[in-house]
């Protein structure tokens, strides 16, 4: 057996807690950071970490499908965001030049994109509050109702809470989309744990990919018009 095979085999027996710590960090970055690049890197890391838990539930090959689907979503969002940002920068430059020439005033630089309506401190405190909610909920979860292992349930609940928080805090397609993907990734793990099957896995992977495509589309279309300065 190759060493990497041994590592993967060991990972399938890994408890969910180390992964949970990683997910706490990645999802917190998604909530708190202002630059979309951090969100996408965190999302990618999140899919890889979740892949480890999927391995435990589905096995190596099928878990790899999940990681690949998630990893494909990130470039979709990246190219959409990159294209919108460069288009906005170009548009802003042209308009700044025009205003400078016509009015003799140098306008302020445009707001960073995408705009987040709350500041980072508020989001950080809200994330901490969510963590307390998770702690409280996970202590009082009824045993009979849990469809998944006791160590996987907090992971799923945390991703749902973070996804919902991001969705509530913004109406911009890119951050809201990243929040929705976080929420869906948590549900994906939950679903695979209680209903493992090829058809369900295939459809959920297709939904993840289509979600990435739809969010990229909305991000691009939203920025077709709008003032910058």
């Amino acid at each position: 057996m190759y060493p990497w095979q041994q590592i993967l085999a060991d990972l399938t027996h890994l408890s969910a807690w180390p992964v949970f710590v990683g997910l706490l960090i990645t999802s917190s970055v998604i909530v708190v950071a202002s630059d979309w690049r951090f969100w996408l890197w965190s999302l990618l890391a999140q899919y890889v970490l979740l892949g480890v838990l999927h391995m435990r539930v589905l096995g190596l090959e099928l878990a790899l499908t999940k990681v690949v689907a998630g990893a494909l979503v990130c470039p979709m969002l990246y190219w959409a965001a990159r294209s919108v940002e460069s288009e906005r920068a170009h548009k802003a430059e042209v308009e700044r030049e025009r205003i400078t020439k016509e009015k003799g005033e140098v306008p302020l630089p445009p707001l960073p994109w995408p705009v987040r309506s709350t500041n980072w401190m508020f989001r950080l405190l809200t994330t901490l509050l969510l963590f307390l909610v998770l702690y409280s909920v996970s202590r009082s979860l009824p045993e009979g109702l849990l469809l998944v292992d006791a160590d996987i349930a907090p992971v799923c609940i945390w991703l749902w809470l973070v996804g919902l928080l991001v969705l509530v805090l913004t109406s911009e397609p890119l951050p809201a989309g990243v929040g929705l993907l976080t929420l869906v990734s948590g549900f994906d793990l939950f679903f695979d744990a209680f209903s493992p099957g090829l058809v369900g896995l295939g459809i959920l992977s297709a939904i993840t990919l289509l979600l990435g495509l739809a969010i990229s589309y909305l991000t691009t279309v939203r920025e077709l018009t709008g003032e910058l300065l």
Binding site: E87, H90, K91, V94, E95, R98, I99, K101, P142, G144, L145, L147, L167, S171, P173, A176, G177, L180, L183, V184, F187, F190, F191, F194, S195, G197, L198, V199, G200, I203, L204, A206, I207, L210, L211, A214, Y217, L218, V221, R222, E223, L224, T225, G226, E227, L228, L229
Partner: protein, 560 residues
Amino acid sequence: MNALGVYGQVSLVQGPYWTNLPLRLPGPLFFLLAAALIAIICYLLQRWSLFAGLLAGAGCLLLGWLSLQLAQQQALPRELLSLFGHVWAYDEPFVLFGREWALDATNGAVLSFMFLASGLSFLAALPASQGSAYYPFSMSVIAALVFSVTAEQYIYSILFLWLAVVLAVFVLAGGRPRATTGALRFLALASLGVMLLLTVAGYLPDIELGVLPTDSYPPVRILVILGFGVLLMLAPFHGQLVGIPAHTAPMVPVFMLSTFPPVVLYVLFTLGNASPALFEDQLLFTVYRTLGTATVAIGGIAAIGQRRWSYLVGYATLVDWGVSLIALGQGTAQGMAWAVQMLIWRAFSLLLVGTGLTVLLRATRNDDLGAFRGMLRRRLPAVLALTAGLLSLAGFPLTPGFMGRWPVIDELLRGQAVTAWVVILSGASVTVGTLIGIKSCLGPPLSAGRSLPADPRIARLPPGGDLRQPGIGHATLPPEGRRLRERGVPTSPRIAGLQPGMGAHSGSAEPRLPGDRFATLVGMVTGTLVLSLVGAMVLHPGPWIEMAQRMLGTLSFLPT
């Protein structure tokens, strides 16, 4: 058997072997493949929206007719369809990894309604572009919904419904910046609802076996109530329902509200039949009745004060939708029948509204009530269609909507007088809102030199303005416009493909109407034919009522 295999000998005599293959397509797979094929062709034809629309409309009507044949037959025929003697669609289920998708008379009724209503909306959409994504992605949504309706297992119904929700985002946004908010809201809320319902699937095996502990039922019931509540757009999740007519192209609501709600109701009914224990306490019906009343009240209060046609249509739809939720909340088979019948009448009402609004917005480029001045003289049939549709959504007597609403009001007056009066007053409010709108269509037409009222939501667009101004989105301009703007050349909005005073349905980046007179002419003729067809259907409602009853024929979990 020869080297070519079992069919090789035939092929030597009659032609290539593949022409003689007795291809056996299961019914669900046939409908899915047909819808997907039309979607692909429409995508390739998206530059020629007239042909794409004709193909999508005709294809949907044909598929709807086929499924209607299925729905109207008590016993399923062995062969559903034969094309050129080679392709056979059987009533056999489609099986994939042990999961089954099957057609029967009940889901055939749902499919036929979905196909026919969508087909009519595609044809009525021809006079003006509804966005390049409208036809191909609508057909993709239908393809996903086919598998949602025909899935034998609850879990796959919900999964394919989710797939359809994600695809519907492209239809809703349709290249319109303003529509992205509504599309995102729909995507997020519908995904939440779907996830809640998928969670329920985890408990179903235990419920069906009767081994789930009694104290575990309430949380599962709450999941069901919340999940279906979100998908059925109950208050406080009603924002998506208003947003769809308010922000999208006029025909998009017809499509969305003719496809998703029937499927959601069908899934609810099949879940009820499979797991009646979930509905035993009647909590779902109580909640839906109460929140349905709230939905009606919200719509009624808001409708009377609207000054934009799109929002008026949105709130009128909300009132009508709320009444069907109240009917659903009665918790009886009769109440369900009313709710389903109202789905049918609502599709007709929205079709009338959409057709009228499509033609009128093409003429006015603005959906302010004031911008429609003179339209009664210039576009009489369109104004009449819009009025008839809105009055129908209000449940005004002698309109299709009244046929669905009156039995509900009659029932409510017997035992729930307050709810009945909320429904009546909300209908009156929509009627008054409509009359205010019609009043604005009176008077002489706006003269050619007089500008239309400015649309505050796109006030950033300078009327008749200069593209060098900062409000005009650089990205929305065609290449010539961009080059001129970058050189600082004052450019007319018309050159850049923009129109002054564009409104909710025709903002700067909105899909433009076809300039081709031939396409417009064909579209208008088709729209008139569709309206005639709708009129004929409304005058002869028998088959539709029968179809609704067939759809409800298997509701064994409800009291009569």
